[in-house]
């Protein structure tokens, strides 16, 4: 059975001299299995060719499409319209990140800064000869590393975080998770002292207020609070 749904989308172009923040309302026919990806594209093609939003994979894999859906940060491509009983869905861009236009925010820039701050690469003194057999890695450690490597940098944990909203230099759960990831990786030779240099302050590990927003919303179900608590214990014992 099909019904009409109402989508209210935030519209604003900060680079334009005449644009003012407002909501536009669109009514459309719901189809079975409709996601916000499908709905927003229909709106663009049929009602408002000016509406900006970001999708890449439309499959919940790339992390492009996070936005506030009735106030909650989540991946729009994975959001089914049928889950909204009254058929009214309000869309806003993610907070914290720089607004590009309408529902599109610059997570890329933010994440690039985060990656350079945590030096998001393997630190090693070993030189690999790629024609030789690879170094062995304990299968369980490889699996553990993989579990934390699954973050897609969608920014939802940041948008759901009280600290991140208050202080713009906070590294966020995504950054702390990245530290945790390299910490368990047996190939990375950094010590806790080295990690402390990167995040041992209030804009890093000690900024977290343990409100749990990050973990509750993370679409990859990463064990963020556990990891943060663990790193905090480790970092606290460094000094």
């Amino acid at each position: 059975m099909s019904r009409k749904i109402t989508i209210k989308a935030f519209k604003y172009n900060p680079l334009s001299k005449i644009s003012k923040p407002h909501f536009n309302t669109y009514e459309l026919e719901e189809t079975s299995g409709m996601t916000l990806f499908v709905a927003l594209n229909q709106i663009r093609e049929n009602f408002d060719p000016d509406l900006s939003f970001d999708f890449v994979c439309r499959a919940g894999i790339c992390g492009s499409c996070a936005m506030l859906v009735n106030g909650k940060p989540q991946l729009a491509c994975r959001t089914l319209t049928k889950d909204y009983e009254d058929g009214v869905i309000e869309l806003m861009p993610l907070p914290v990140f720089k607004l590009i236009k309408d529902l599109s925010v610059n997570t890329g820039e933010w994440m690039a800064a985060m990656n350079s701050r945590v030096e998001s690469w393997i630190h090693t003194t070993k030189v690999t000869d790629i024609s030789k057999q690879e170094e062995k890695v304990d299968p369980e450690l490889a699996q553990k590393t993989f579990e934390l490597d699954r973050c897609i940098e969608c920014g939802i944990c940041v948008a759901a975080c009280g600290t991140a909203i208050m202080r713009n230099d906070f590294i966020g759960a995504v950054g702390l998770n990245r530290i945790a990831r390299f910490r368990v990786d047996p190939l990375d030779e950094r010590t806790d002292e080295d990690f402390y240099e990167l995040v041992g302050d209030d804009s890093g590990i000690f900024g977290c207020m343990s409100l749990l927003g990050c973990e509750d919303q993370c679409p990859k179900h990463l064990p963020l609070q556990n990891q943060i608590a663990f790193i905090r214990r480790k970092m606290a014992s460094v000094k």
Partner: protein
């Protein structure tokens, strides 16, 4: 006008572009990477199943090596590939994966002892030795003799992409996202960079470089049903075509994947079948063994896709509001396996279709509650920018291409699962390294006035589009193109349908030059973006459709119902497409593949219909030569490397050509 200079300009920040950037940066070249989206969001992130590399570590891959990988790849390509490139690729793939491991890609590793696996729907026990504990694991994929596909659960592309992006960050590669290349700068047969539009501000800049690479991925979005990300529109290939100098190769070779989920088109990885998942029809019957008794669900993709469609045409499809489909059943693998190794697949099924694929219960009609509805859809572009084995365009100097955007040509008319992400990083190493040398050896000898003329041309074009007040709506044109491609240029093709498609697409192309734009902004204007992209996409669509119409044979993924045989006598050649300014149709020419130079002359693939080949006289002749040479050299006690070299010598940088070490056999 802003001119941004670099040594290496890489357009596209997926696996291929980023790995190439590592290669150019490592040799000291100032390297800029451009991408439409933050690079870690590139389409490469979506690859689930894995990457082929003949490590030969695990029990089921014992005995694997470059030779076996090469044979699989050539057969997979239906003899349409460049065998020298396939050799370069197979030799380098193990090195690529070992390099990625050292950069932190957390490959799934082998655990010693017993584990159970599903092989041919039977539970089997596999025992791994102490010696291989902790080495990189691999799973089974279609069209391969050994279990060769290395993986990180079902998030392989994601972990690879992050690994390579991390390496770029470490090397200080200058990555700029939300930048779209919309034209190439070229003069007298040499490429000097690109005109680039900032997707936030709408500004146009000239990026000028000693060498330019296009690594912009595939063009799946010219089809209505595709597994591809929304940015896979082929703009990179199109701007190369629009130079009128660079050529595209084998554009009609388009792959359809057997198991995207219906209706969203999100892919359920080939790893599902590789790990033992099976296909079922409306009666719950497993039908693949009826068609392909030997390889069953694991025949190559073109074959499985056609068999599914054939079975549906026989009335065995499941009816649904979205048309007919069949079922993919992975519930037989067991919940534990699914929740560890196919977790993303499980999530996709749950979120988009509300089913749990691990559910083994049957409903009252005998249909599994966990079975996923699937239907073949467009998946991969074998065609792309034609390159030499070095990755450089043979006709436009200084233009390189790698990854799915390129027709480097190791895939021919059908690529094997797991060979694509492997290609991206391998090509990144090899082509990236050749490009690095090109940068060291060549100056930028072009004046700014000339660059200005290119910027002006694109600026005028954008202005003209904004002011256009024609008849047609660009979104409608785009959707019509997608429908035509799906209707007539998909899995089964006929002369009649293709003829119609070519005519209608040409008409649409003309309409796309006469559109009306309602939004008059120069930036933050999605309609404008469609307006300049869609005509480019239509050019590609025409290359695909016209190429398919003229190729009166069936090879790999290109299947003509009116010409069901592979015709080596007439069609063992590569299609080359170019586009003359002002034309509404591509110009096609052909480049023959020389059987007498092949290490593996054309033969039966080992799956699909037998006796379906119109043979070329040289095949038997060359086969005889090959057999004799092999025998003679073996008798002389020569090793496999020497024999290979005698059959078909190929050039490759020494660091990549070095023998690969393997457990138990050393360098042999």
């Amino acid at each position: 006008m802003n001119i941004i200079y670099s040594d290496a300009l890489i357009i596209g920040g997926g696996l291929a572009g980023l790995r190439s950037a590592v290669a150019t940066a490592e040799k000291g070249n100032k390297t800029i990477v451009l991408s439409m989206c933050p690079v870690r969001r590139s389409h490469s992130a979506a690859a689930q199943g894995g990457m082929q590399a003949s490590l030969g570590n695990s029990k089921m891959s014992e005995g694997d090596n470059e030779d076996v990988h090469f044979a699989d790849t050539v057969k997979g390509s239906d003899w349409g590939c460049d065998q020298e490139v396939a050799r370069m690729f197979c030799q380098t793939a193990p090195k690529a994966i070992r390099e990625l491991a050292s950069w932190g890609v957390p490959w799934t590793r082998i655990t010693k002892g017993d584990r159970s696996a599903i092989i041919n729907a039977q539970k089997t026990t596999i025992t791994e030795s102490e010696e291989v504990h902790g080495l990189i694991h691999s799973r089974d994929f279609g069209g391969t003799k050994k279990w060769r596909t290395c993986y990180t659960a079902d998030a392989t592309g994601h972990t690879m992409l992050f690994g390579v992006a991390n390496r770029c960050a470490q090397l200080g590669v200058d990555i700029r996202d939300r930048k779209e290349a919309i034209a190439l700068i070229h003069k007298d047969g040499r490429c000097y960079g690109a005109i680039v539009r900032d997707l936030i501000t709408g500004e146009l800049d000239a990026f000028v470089a000693r060498a330019t690479m296009i690594a912009t991925g595939g063009y799946g979005r010219i089809y209505k049903h595709t597994t591809n990300a929304v940015i896979c529109e082929g703009i990179g290939a199109a701007i190369a075509l629009e130079t009128g100098v660079a050529q595209l190769g084998n554009m009609e070779a388009v792959q359809f994947h057997p198991t995207p989920i219906v209706p969203s088109g999100i892919l359920l990885t080939e790893g599902c079948r590789g790990d033992g998942g099976i296909l079922r029809d409306v009666d719950g019957h497993r039908f693949m063994p009826d068609y392909e008794p030997e390889k069953k669900e694991l025949a190559s993709r073109d074959v499985v896709s056609r068999r599914i469609m054939e079975h549906i045409r026989k009335g065995k499809g499941v009816k649904s509001p979205y048309g007919e489909h069949v079922w993919l059943d992975i519930s037989i693998l067991g919940r534990e396996h699914i929740e560890k190794n196919l977790r993303d697949v499980q999530e996709i099924c749950q979120i988009f279709n509300g089913i749990d694929p691990a559910d083994t219960e049957l409903d009252e009609n005998g249909i599994g509650k966990g079975w996923a509805p699937i239907l073949p859809m467009q998946h991969y572009s074998m065609g792309g920018i034609k390159t030499k084995p070095t990755g450089e365009s043979p006709t436009l100097k200084g233009l390189f291409s790698s990854g799915e955007a390129a027709c480097w040509d190791m895939h021919g008319f059908n690529r094997l699962g797991g060979n694509s992400v492997a290609e991206t990083v391998v090509a990144g190493m090899i082509v990236g390294d050749y490009m690095a040398d090109f940068c060291l050896e060549n100056e930028i000898d072009i004046d700014t006035k000339f660059i200005q003329s290119f910027v002006d041309k694109e600026n005028d074009y954008i202005t003209k589009l904004i002011n256009s007040d024609g008849k047609y709506n660009i979104f409608e044109i785009k959707n019509k193109m997608k429908d035509i491609m799906w209707e007539h240029v998909a899995i089964f093709r006929t002369g009649e349908g293709l003829e119609k498609a070519v005519k209608e697409l040409e008409e649409l192309y003309k309409e796309s030059l006469n559109i009306k734009i309602s939004n008059k902004e120069r930036f933050g204007n999605p309609e404008l973006e469609e307006a300049y992209r869609v005509p480019k996409m239509l050019k590609l669509a025409l290359c695909v459709a016209k190429g398919a119409l003229d190729r009166t044979e069936s090879r790999g993924a290109h299947y003509r119902e009116d010409y069901p045989k592979r015709d080596d006598a007439n069609w063992l050649k590569r299609t080359l497409a170019s586009w003359k300014d002002g034309d509404t149709m591509p110009t096609l020419t052909y480049e023959p593949l020389d059987i007498m130079k092949m290490e593996m002359p054309p033969a039966f693939r080992g799956y699909g219909a037998k006796g379906n080949i119109i043979e070329h006289a040289d095949s038997a002749k060359r086969q005889k030569e090959v057999d004799e040479t092999k025998e003679r050299l073996k008798a002389e006690g020569k090793g496999r490397y020497e024999i290979q070299d005698a059959l078909m010598h190929y050039e490759l940088q020494p660091k990549f050509k070095a023998p690969n070490q393997r457990v138990g056999v050393g360098n042999e």
